[in-house]
Symmetry: C2
Subunit: 328 residues, 2 copies
C-alpha cells in the first residue's frame, strides 16, 4: 500500500506519519511506500518502510502531478495555511488553501485510479448565528477566508467523489488541543497555550472571555480521525462526504479547572487580556456540535478536558510534568 501525506511537517501530519510508520499497516494492509510532502522538509522517524520526502508548493505547475505519480492508494491532504494567517495574507491563503487543494484534486483526477482521499477541513466552514448545538446539516456560511477556502475544497472533493475521480472524505476538525511545540498563527492557538505553557511553568495569555465555550479534540484523537476515515467503508457515508468530527465541548474556565487538577499552581500563570483581532475571529466560530453522523460512523474523541490534558502529558511531555517549574 502506497500513502501520500501533504502537510507532513505539520503538527498532525507529522504525528500521522509517525503512527503509520510505527504500525507499518493501514486497515490491515502493509504500507510499502510513504510520501511525505510539505513546504518545509518533513523529518520522519527511522523505519523499514520506503519513505520519500518532498518539499515544495502544491500549487506550482506539475508539483501535485509529481506527488501522485506513484498512484498512492491513500492520500491524506493536510497541507494548508492556518486561519489567522489566511486572514492576514489574503493572496497566500487562497493560493495555498484553494489553489493548492484544487491542484491536488485535479492531479488525483487525472491519475485516474480513484484513491481514498482524506481531507483536513474545519469547523470554521460554519458561520453564525448558530444554534446552541450545531447540527450536521447546518448550512456552511464561513465568516473567515480560511473557512471559505476549506469549504471550496470540500465542495470539489464531494463532486469529484460523486464522479468517481476519488473516494473522498472531508473531516471538519474541531480545534486541536493541546497543540505541542510553539504557537502558530491559528487564531485558536491560545486554547493550547493556556494549558501547554503553564504546565511547564511558563506564562500564557487568554485573549477571550472565561465563559466562552469551544470544542476540542487532542492531536491523538485527530490522528485517529484520519486513520478511521482512511479505512472505513465509505458506502456507509453516502454522498455527503464532509463530516463534522466529534469533540469535547467546554468553557475556557472548564479548561483551566482541569489544568488546576493536574497542576494546581499553573492557572496563576494565565493572564487575561482580550485580543480584539483574535476575538473577532474566534467569536464567529460555533461552540458545540452534534457530530451525530461521525459518531455513528465510529469517529471518537475525548469526553473530558482532563483526558485531553492527559494525552498531552503522555504524548508531548513524556508522561510526566516537570518536577521543578522554572520561575520567572
Amino acid at each position: 500500500m502506497r500513502i501520500l501525506i501533504t502537510g507532513a511537517a505539520g503538527m498532525i501530519g507529522a504525528r500521522l506519519a509517525a503512527r503509520l510508520l510505527a504500525e507499518g499497516t493501514l486497515g490491515g494492509q502493509r504500507i510499502s511506500h510513504l510520501t511525505l510532502h510539505d513546504v518545509i522538509a518533513p523529518t520522519p522517524p527511522p523505519s523499514p518502510i520506503a519513505v520519500a520526502t518532498v518539499t515544495g508548493d502544491l500549487a506550482c505547475v506539475g508539483a501535485a502531478e509529481a506527488l501522485v505519480s506513484n498512484r498512492p492508494d491513500v492520500v491524506f491532504h493536510l497541507a494548508g495555511i492556518v486561519s489567522g494567517q489566511a486572514e492576514a495574507d489574503f493572496a497566500l491563503g487562497y493560493a495555498v488553501n484553494l489553489d493548492g487543494t484544487r491542484a491536488l484534486w485535479d492531479a488525483i483526477r487525472l491519475a485516474g485510479h480513484a484513491p481514498r482521499v482524506v481531507y483536513a477541513s474545519t469547523a470554521a466552514v460554519f458561520g453564525g448565528p448558530f444554534p446552541d448545538v450545531v447540527p450536521d446539516d447546518f448550512a456552511p456560511t464561513p465568516l473567515s477566508s480560511y473557512g471559505a477556502q476549506k469549504l471550496v475544497g470540500e465542495v470539489i472533493l464531494a463532486d469529484y467523489t460523486r464522479r468517481g475521480c476519488m473516494d473522498g472524505v472531508g473531516l471538519r476538525l474541531p480545534t486541536i488541543c493541546v497543540r505541542p511545540g510553539t504557537p502558530n498563527r491559528a487564531a485558536s492557538g491560545f486554547y493550547s497555550s493556556i494549558i501547554r505553557e503553564p504546565l511547564v511553568g511558563l506564562p500564557a495569555t487568554l485573549p477571550v472571555p472565561l465563559t466562552w465555550v469551544h470544542t476540542h479534540a487532542s492531536p491523538r484523537a485527530a490522528v485517529g480521525f484520519f486513520i478511521h476515515a482512511a479505512t472505513l467503508d465509505t458506502v456507509l457515508i453516502g454522498p455527503r462526504r464532509n463530516l463534522v468530527m466529534p469533540g469535547l465541548s467546554c468553557s475556557v474556565a472548564d479548561q483551566i479547572a482541569a489544568l488546576a487538577r493536574v497542576a494546581p499552581a499553573a492557572p496563576a500563570l494565565i493572564r487575561q487580556k482580550e485580543d480584539p483581532a483574535v476575538w473577532a475571529i474566534v467569536k464567529t466560530w460555533p461552540q458545540r456540535f452534534a457530530a451525530s453522523r461521525a459518531r455513528d460512523l465510529g469517529f471518537q474523541a475525548e469526553t473530558s478536558f482532563d483526558d485531553i490534558i492527559a494525552v498531552h502529558v503522555e504524548d508531548a511531555l513524556g508522561g510526566q510534568l516537570p518536577t521543578t517549574a522554572p520561575s520567572f
Copy 2:
C-alpha cells in the same frame, strides 16, 4: 454609471442588456457605458449609450482584468456552461464555471473599487434528500458538477464581499421558463420546450413524469431579479449574500393544463418519453422553495403558470399565438 454584463449573448444576459439600454438608467442613475461580454458576440439593440462588445474566455490570462479595467459600478456575471453540458464535459465546466468566475472575482478584487456584483447562481447548489419545501438555510450539497461549480463561486463571492473586495449578491435561480429560441444543453430545457414548441404547433418530448413538481420563473422575472439585486440596499441582506430566488411551483401536469387554457390543441403535441440521462439530473433537484428572505427583500416572481405562459406570448411571440398552427 458603468455596467458590465458577462454572458451577455445568453438568454437572460441579452434581455438584461436590452432592458438596461431601453431604460437608460439603473436605480435612478444614468447609464453611461455598458460592456457586453460573451464567448460569442453579443448583438445589442441600437442605443445612445456607449456599448462595448467583447468576446473571449473569462478564464484566459488577462481577460477578466481587461473587462473590469474601466472600473464598472455594477457587474452582472451570467457567463457559464449550463448543467447538462457541465456534466457531459467535466473539464470545460470547471474551466468556465469555476476558473472563469474565480478570474472575474479576482480581477474585481484587484481593481479595488468594490463594485456591486450580481451573480447568476442556481437552485442546483442544493442536493437531496429534500424536505417538501426547501428552506433558505438548507445546507447546499450539490449533486451535479454545475451545482458544485456555482456553489464555489458563491462561497468566494461571500468571502470577497466580507473582506470589502466587492458588494456581491448571489441569486440562486429557479428554472427559467419559458426559454425562447432553440433548446440548449440544460437538463431543465424540456420545461420550456413542452410549452414553447406546442404553442407554435411543433411537437415536444416530456422526459420526466407528469406528477413531477418544479419551480419556475419567467425570463422577465429573472431580469427583474438581477435589476433588483443591483439596486437594493445590501445592508439589508447581511453577510449571507447568496439568496434563493422565488418562483412558481407546479407539476408538469399543471404546466400542461395552463398550456391547454391558451391553446387547447397544443397538449396533444407533447409526447411522453422518459430520458434516463435527463431524469437522473432533474430528480436530484429540489421541487419547492420557501425563498422567504428574497421575498422579504422585494424579489418577485410569477404566481401562476398561466402568467408565465402569458409573459412568453408577450415577450417572445409578439403578444399573440400563430393564427394557424403548422400541421405535421
